[in-house]
Amino acid sequence: MRRVWYLLWVALLLAMVLAPWAAARASDRAAQRASLVAEVDREIAGMPPSAGVECLSAPVLRALREVPRHAFVPVAYADEAYQDRPLPIGHGQTISQPTIVALMTELLAVRPGDRVLELGTGSGYQAAVLAALGAEVFSIEIVPALGERARAVLDREGYGGVHTRIGDGYFGWPGQEPFDAIVVTAAGDHIPPPLVRQLKPGGRMVLPVGGRYLTQHLVLVERAADGSVSTRELLPVRFVPLTGEH
């Protein structure tokens, strides 16, 4: 009995010491996050028209400020989570650069209550941002270790409503279609036609094209009300002037 009391006292003392430290740490993280979001906002506002986005909307800014990116990256990279850069998350995969996540989220034009399909859960961060916008998110991952880790982090951070699954995403999530938006976190060598068919008329799909650390451009697929599909290739990079000697 005495031992239990002793342990309780130790726990209490530890809690008294650590609680302010944790609060200060959390407050630091929030400040870093706010600073990052401001930087991302400026970055996007300065992008050329070919990026397809003029500026970030208030809901997207709010979602980015809310979701703790540091909780979704490996512990070793937590201190770098609020830099505008991609980070490795293991298995040769990365968590995208915050500017790219912001840009893709804005392009999806998600409204509260929308059903959104994500292909490639990865760290779970993009799914959390979409959930923070009030969307019902369905996310599929093909690497079991990543999918399981993302599930645990989403639950821990209060995004338990995100539906996750490990398996093939080529045919979308049969039974849950149609979706208002689809986000593919790494584009393959073609857009799966069955996936486009899971998009509602008026729906949007976004795919990044490029390497693990380097997004070359984004592709926005739009399904018109009449069912016809068109795509736009969006270049967030300023290459001007495209002139010089031949």
């Binding site: 028209p49 093909i142 073609h190 650390y213 070359q216 736009r232 990079v237 300023r238 290459f239 031949h246």
Partner: protein
């Protein structure tokens, strides 16, 4: 202690030299397997600075090592033998993600650690050879010839070993060869014979027990990532000199490769197997039967030419796993000739997966293991379609890879082998802003102009789809009927036309919209009357056989400008391969300068003046030889690649011939009196320059005329052409080093250091220089370096006399 024999350790030098070269070649294979293959050249070039460091070490340690020759030689031989295994294991343990360098500065430190670790075995081997040359200065020509001949045998041995064994098994074999070298040294130097033999036997026994070295491919490799996917499993692995081929199946998350497939495709890819070479994705095998090729192949961007061809005779260039062969069959081709350089890739559809895919089992398909240029050179037949797939990396990491199938001369050869209404079709990945697509348009225009076509625009059609473009070039103008069929193909698949002779203004940017129709604007400018005035931020001038860098779009002058400019998210106008090569050169120059200058500091501190006329001419002479030898050798190897039809075999033959005949050239100097050395040097240089110049101006034509000879005859012709040049090139180094050994022996290690560093700098600089001035320019630079040598040598002699 017994006196050391006066006889140099010939066998040990030959064995160590040969094993070191074999290890260098093997490292390129091992590193390609475990890391990003574009990093291989950088890492190995810098590791070879171990040769430069060795000269510096010997120069600084001077008599402390020379007096303990046997001990130092033996310990360095052991360091080399065991270091090959230990250092590779250590380098593998360093967590390296080269693609993260721009984001994570610690990656640079890790990269530097990898260089240093891998340099250690080369340092040991170079110490042995440098020390032997220094101690036996009077026998330098013969020793140097043993060094070169050993290296020649090593080059051949490793190619044979890699053909027979997996690279992970070859490493222990080389360690045993290194230990044999150590044991041979113990016998030749009469020191610790029993210990050396016991040590070699024990280590060899342990290696025999353990077998292959464990390889740990980086997590970012395509193969590693594919195997992380639920349900993925390796089905087949084969190994050869061209690489390790792995085939993966996945029944839970089926593999689906369909580059550029239309969103409107009615059929999806069938069951597939993913193919990897050295862990990098190289296409897929489609389940198919001879009578029913997969239908999705009709909805790819690469199906563009079939819109206007009926039952064509098709040549598929770089057939790989056979996807394009199936595509031709799916469009009713009456005959398909598939050309592929890698025998292991050909074995997949033709042997291991013969019942899985119809790409080889159908009687209409004929496969050839060769490179297309050599294949076409001796071929009288014509094709209705020649299809070339132009792969390119989005980040431009492959910018300095030679692509002889995409040069103006290659286009001309393709057009020569087309039927009157035949088509040359090229497809590749789009990259924004457009680069490769526009370069190929410019190349088509140049090839058509060479045939007297004034209006190239009438002979070209182009479209783009999902991340892919397809370009058609016709020897005859595209008539309205064909244009209509091509237009219909694009419309029914929602692909955007980029160019047609009668293209309407609203057609180019209809389905996959860009903010500006950049592909069309570029193609229109390049095919228009004012193409010469076309201004563009990237270099899209046509590649040629002399400057075969079709994937290099960065100009040297862009480097500083672009590095200083903020370009926004995720973008760079620089090709990563070019940046990496430039960064490697800077590092090699900095390390080389350090290794060359350090002995000077040491000499000043110890008060030993260099003396003689050699003091400042040593770096000049041996630096020039280091640069010149490799410039000439590299330019030659490039010329032979086309002639022999295979990069690996061409490199092996050229390297072998160069080393052997240069070794014989060195041997021919042994009996020469020292007084006759300047005259012999002048003669050698005159021979090098005359033969070299004749090769610059006459060789391409000669090789083109001989291109239809049988394989073995072409190998003999190559050796016969190389022999006199290499024989003469083997002389300048030993002639001067022997003179240095007798007149200023203390400078021999410094000369060794300078030569080692210059060789690394020249190997790294060669592709950058060739990209700027072509291989002819590179050869001329090498010859110019040789021309200066007699003047430096005779002045040294004059200085000595003074």
């Amino acid at each position: 202690m017994a006196a050391l024999p006066e006889r140099p350790p010939w066998i040990a030098v030959g064995l160590i030299s040969g094993t070191a070269l074999a290890y260098e070649v093997l490292l390129t294979r091992l590193f390609a397997l475990v890391h990003w293959h574009h990093l291989v050249a950088t890492v190995i070039s810098l590791a070879l600075l171990g040769y430069g460091a060795s000269g510096t070490f010997l120069a600084l340690a001077q008599h402390r090592v020379r007096e303990r020759f046997a001990v130092v030689f033996l310990s360095n031989a052991a360091l080399f033998a065991l270091g090959m295994l230990a250092c590779f294991a250590l380098a593998q343990a360093i967590p390296l993600d080269p693609q993260a360098v721009s984001w994570e500065p610690t990656q640079l430190l890790r990269l530097a650690a990898v260089y240093l670790v891998l340099a250690l075995p080369f340092f040991g081997a170079a110490n042995c050879i440098g020390l032997a040359l220094w101690r036996h200065a009077a026998r330098i020509p013969r020793l140097y010839s043993v060094d070169l001949l050993g290296a020649g045998v090593g080059a051949l041995t490793v190619v044979v070993l890699l053909q027979l064994l997996h690279p992970a098994v070859v490493l222990p074999v080389l360690v045993v060869l290194g230990l044999l070298g150590t044991a041979a040294a113990a016998f030749e130097l009469r020191r610790g014979r029993a210990a050396a033999v016991a040590f070699a036997v024990v280590v060899a026994g342990v290696l025999w027990q353990r077998g292959a070295v464990a390889l740990h491919p980086a997590a970012y490799k395509d193969l590693a990532r594919t195997l992380d996917v639920v349900g993925a499993q390796v089905e087949t692995t084969t190994s050869g000199a061209m690489g390790v081929v792995t085939v993966v199946r996945n029944d839970r998350v089926p593999l689906r490769a369909a580059p550029g497939m239309s969103l409107l495709a009615s059929e999806l890819p069938p069951e597939q197997r993913a193919v990897f070479v050295d862990g990098d994705a190289r296409g897929a095998l489609d389940r198919s039967s001879p009578g029913a090729p997969p239908g999705y192949l009709r909805d790819l961007v690469s199906a563009f030419p079939y819109a206007v061809l009926r039952a064509p005779r098709v040549l598929v260039v770089g057939a790989g796993a056979g996807g394009r062969v199936l595509q031709a069959l799916a469009h009713g081709a009456r005959e398909v000739v598939a050309v592929e350089g890698s025998p292991q890739l050909v074995e997949l559809p033709c042997r291991h997966y013969r019942t899985f895919t119809a790409a080889c089992s159908t009687p209409r398909a004929h496969w050839r293991v060769t490179e297309v240029r050599a294949f076409l050179a001796g071929l009288p037949q014509a094709f209705d379609l020649i299809g070339v797939s132009a792969s390119a990396d989005l980040a431009g990491t492959d910018a300095l890879s030679e692509t002889y199938e995409l040069t103006v001369e290659a286009f001309a050869q393709y057009l020569d082998h087309l039927t009157p209404r035949g088509l040359l079709a090229l497809d590749g990945p789009t990259r924004l802003p457009p680069r490769l697509a526009l370069r190929l348009v410019a190349t088509a225009r140049a090839a058509l102009a060479a045939r007297g076509v004034a209006e190239a625009g009438r002979h070209v059609a182009m479209l783009r789809g999902w991340q892919q473009f397809a370009l058609l070039v016709s020897a005859t103008p595209i008539d309205p009927e064909r244009a209509a069929a091509l237009r219909e193909f694009a419309r029914t698949r929602a692909f955007d036309l980029v160019w047609l002779p009668d293209l309407e203004p609203d057609e180019p940017n209809r389905y996959q919209r860009l903010a500006e129709p950049r592909f069309h604007a570029g193609a229109a400018a390049l095919l228009g009357p004012a193409a010469g005035a076309f201004a563009y931020a990237f270099d899209v001038t046509p590649a040629t056989d002399d400057r075969p860098y079709a994937r290099l779009f960065t100009r040297a002058r862009d480097l500083g400008e672009a590095l200083g400019a903020a370009e926004g998210v995720g973008g760079s106008r620089l090709d990563a391969g070019f940046v990496m090569a430039a960064a490697t050169l800077v590092q090699a120059l900095a390390a080389g300068a350090l290794f060359i200058l350090l002995p000077l500091v040491g000499r000043r501190r110890t008060g030993r003046a260099g003396g003689h006329g050699w003091a400042w001419r040593t770096p000049l002479y041996f630096g020039l030889i280091g640069l010149a030898f490799l410039f000439v050798e590299i330019a030659w190897i490039q010329r032979l690649q086309l002639f022999l039809g295979h990069p690996i075999y061409a490199t092996a033959v050229a390297l072998e011939a160069f080393l052997v005949f240069a070794g014989l050239g060195s041997l021919a100097c042994q009996r020469l009196a020292e007084a006759a050395a300047p005259a012999r040097l002048r003669l050698a240089v005159v021979a090098i320059v005359v033969i070299g110049l004749s090769y610059v101006f006459g060789l391409p034509t000669l090789l083109y005329r001989l291109a239809d000879l049988p394989d073995w005859t072409r190998v003999l012709v190559s050796i016969a052409l190389l022999a006199p040049l290499a024989f003469a090139m083997g002389m300048p180094f030993p002639l001067a080093l022997r003179a240095l050994g007798s007149e200023a022996p203390g400078l021999v290690p410094w000369a060794w250091a300078v030569n080692g560093c210059a060789s690394v700098v020249s190997a790294v600089a060669a592709p950058l220089l060739a990209a700027a001035v072509g291989f002819s320019g590179l050869l001329l630079m090498g010859l110019t370096c040789y021309l200066v040598l007699p003047a430096v040598f005779s002045r040294s002699a004059a200085g000595d006399r003074a």
